[in-house]
């Protein structure tokens, strides 16, 4: 029903097995960070991989989703599920507004416009009272899911985050393999032709953008709940750049690439954190190596080697 090919089904089951086993071996909070980043990267990949539009402003949706989830959680004491959904709605609504402007141009202009619009969102978050400016929203309670599941336990929270990730992942896969997704790929390959076949390409691009940003908002909201904090870092343009790198490293337009990219990037940030600015240098160097030497990314190269679409 999700359109997985045989090798993809095997890879998916392997991923599920890893998601189930890992929390018993590794630190669950770290894994939750990985899963949020993975969902973020998969949502981002929907735009770059299947519509061919590079957004350099996805941090705006990630950060705003986080802010809204954290704020509603802390002030209104809503249910965790509501907070995450509100995060997604915020991402989607913001995506609708910014996407409406950005899809007027394509290629590098699209990248620059999304970057500039996200910068505007950043300045808004810096000034707006509800975000807490430089301090961010701190000490957000994790609260309860559906009113009876206590999320303060790390393991319980982990299963919720895992469920959100798998749900998001399958949604994206379903979108890509729907007739709608086929039209998107058609637009990516040859937009004038799609237009001449009677498709309103701008509408398709905008819907794809909104879906991508809504899922990004969900990822942001989930992350805010996990860590109990929403800060300016998540709206900053460096986060936008990081997610581009994550997806590029894993493999643009591959199914499992963004998730693997998130594993690599988050581990790197985690274990290299003590080296300060060297993290940025390493990231930049990886960026350049990816672009120069292996543009297919890790999963893309493996898939190319095995002659499979992963």
């Amino acid at each position: 029903m999700f359109g997985f090919s045989r090798p993809q089904t095997i890879a998916f089951l392997a991923m599920l097995a890893l998601i189930i086993v890992c929390p018993y071996v590794l630190y669950p909070v770290f894994l939750m960070r990985v899963l949020c980043a993975a969902l973020f990267a998969c949502a981002f990949n929907l735009m770059i991989g299947y519509v061919g539009l590079l957004s350099f402003g996805h941090a705006a949706f990630f950060g705003m989703g986080g802010y809204v989830a954290a704020w509603t959680m802390k002030t209104w004491h809503v249910d965790a599920s509501i907070a995450i959904i509100l995060g997604g709605l915020t991402g989607g609504l913001l995506g609708l507004c910014l996407g409406f402007l950005a899809i007027r141009r394509s290629g590098i202009y699209f990248a620059m416009i999304t970057l500039a619009l996200a910068q505007m969102v950043y300045f808004f978050c810096l000034e707006a009272p509800f975000t807490g400016g430089e301090d961010g929203i701190q000490q957000v309670p994790r609260g309860w899911l559906f009113g009876f599941i206590d999320l303060s336990n790390d393991m319980t929270m982990y299963w919720v985050v895992a469920a959100v990730f798998v749900g998001g992942f399958l949604t994206i896969h379903r979108i890509i393999h729907s007739p709608f997704g086929q039209v998107l790929k058609g637009i990516r390959e040859n937009e004038p032709r799609a237009t001449s076949l009677g498709y309103r390409t701008d509408d398709y691009k905008l819907i794809a953008f909104v879906l991508s940003t809504a899922l990004t908002g969900i990822a942001g909201g989930t992350k805010a709940l996990v860590f109990g904090i929403a800060t300016l870092t998540d709206v900053h343009s460096s986060t936008s750049g990081e997610i581009v790198l994550t997806t590029l490293l894993g493999g643009l337009g591959t199914v499992f690439g963004p998730a693997l990219g998130a594993v690599v990037m988050t581990s790197m940030e985690n274990y290299l954190a003590q080296f300060g600015a060297w993290v940025t240098v390493t990231q930049g160097a990886i960026f350049m190596i990816c672009v120069l030497a292996f543009r297919r990314g890790i999963i893309g190269e493996i898939g190319h080697f095995l002659k499979l679409r992963l």
Partner: protein, 295 residues
């Protein structure tokens, strides 16, 4: 005291001057971006990092070798320009046959590396660069006091921008350049070494960014983030102006600086976002940009 629209004159003119200075940097940076884009079809995301390098090189020249402001105004752009040529020859030129987005991603990675290295070496707090003795003090213009250095920045930027415009629009080298932008294979068929022209263009655009960096050094402290603070706004300026015309970039740059300065007087909360608001309006009414050509 003169009052204009209920605002004290000196305050208004002071902010106007600050706006002009920001505008001067927008103009120089977006001009370099436009020239590079025209020739290489690459959006140089490393532009902000190279701007920062210009400031750092002039700081190093002063503190390590004792070379003062005015010589480094020429020397630093040359050094950074050579670095740019090296980058173009070794790395960037490998991407010309690929989608433009890869050039963007590569130069973005490049800017991360450059900024990260400088942050490692010099921290992110920033180092002061003294205004040269000749340009210290202020002049009474009658309606306001103008710090000499700030006046000099606006003047120097305007001269350099116009000189770049003149080189591109009025000289034979510029004519070749414009022809190569339109149709590189044909120009190459006439015996022009187009790859070398591309390399020189990149070096020139980078030198322009470095020149802006040297001018900026005494105003903002010399720190590794000075480029990235600027460059996001510069991209908005480029979208507003469209990358079709040289003069367009200059006018848009200065114009937006002034608009930003005026916003600081009348509605300070919006001063950081006004450029982006203008961008939204332009996108809604003229998606190609004010001076952009139809694709």
């Amino acid at each position: 005291m003169i009052m204009i629209f209920g605002i004290p004159g000196p305050l208004l003119f002071g902010q106007l001057l600050l706006g002009l200075i920001n505008g001067a940097f927008y103009a120089m940076l977006s001009l370099g971006l436009a020239v590079i884009f025209g020739m290489l079809n690459i959006i140089n995301f490393a532009h902000g990092a190279l701007f920062m390098m210009g400031a750092f090189v002039s700081w190093m020249l002063l503190n390590y070798i004792g070379i003062g402001y005015f010589p480094s105004l020429i020397l630093a752009p040359i050094l950074v320009g050579i670095f740019g040529i090296f980058l173009e020859r070794t790395i960037i030129s490998r991407l010309y046959k690929l989608d433009h987005l890869y050039g963007l991603l590569l130069t973005f990675g490049l800017s991360l590396v450059i900024e990260g290295l400088f942050r490692n070496g010099y921290g992110s707090s920033g180092m002061p660069y003294r205004i040269p003795a000749m340009l210290q003090g202020a002049t009474d213009l009658g309606f306001m006091f103008m710090p000499n250095y700030r006046g000099w920045v606006v003047l120097a930027a305007a001269v350099v921008c116009l000189a770049t415009w003149a080189i591109i629009e009025k000289t034979s080298l510029g004519a070749t350049l414009r022809a190569a932008t339109e149709n590189a294979p044909l120009v190459q068929a006439f015996g022009v070494n187009v790859p070398r022209l591309i390399t020189l263009t990149y070096g020139g655009g980078v030198a322009l960014a470095a020149f802006a960096g040297v001018l900026a050094a005494p105003i903002y402290s010399v720190n590794p983030n000075m480029g990235s603070n600027f460059i996001n706004t510069v991209f908005a300026v480029v979208v507003i102006g469209g990358m079709g015309s040289i003069l367009g970039s200059i006018v848009t740059g200065f114009g937006l600086g002034v608009i930003e300065g005026l916003t600081k007087v009348f509605y300070p909360q919006a001063s950081a976002t006004v450029v982006f608001v203008v961008m939204v309006i332009v996108l809604l009414t003229r998606p190609r940009g004010l001076f952009g050509k139809a694709a």
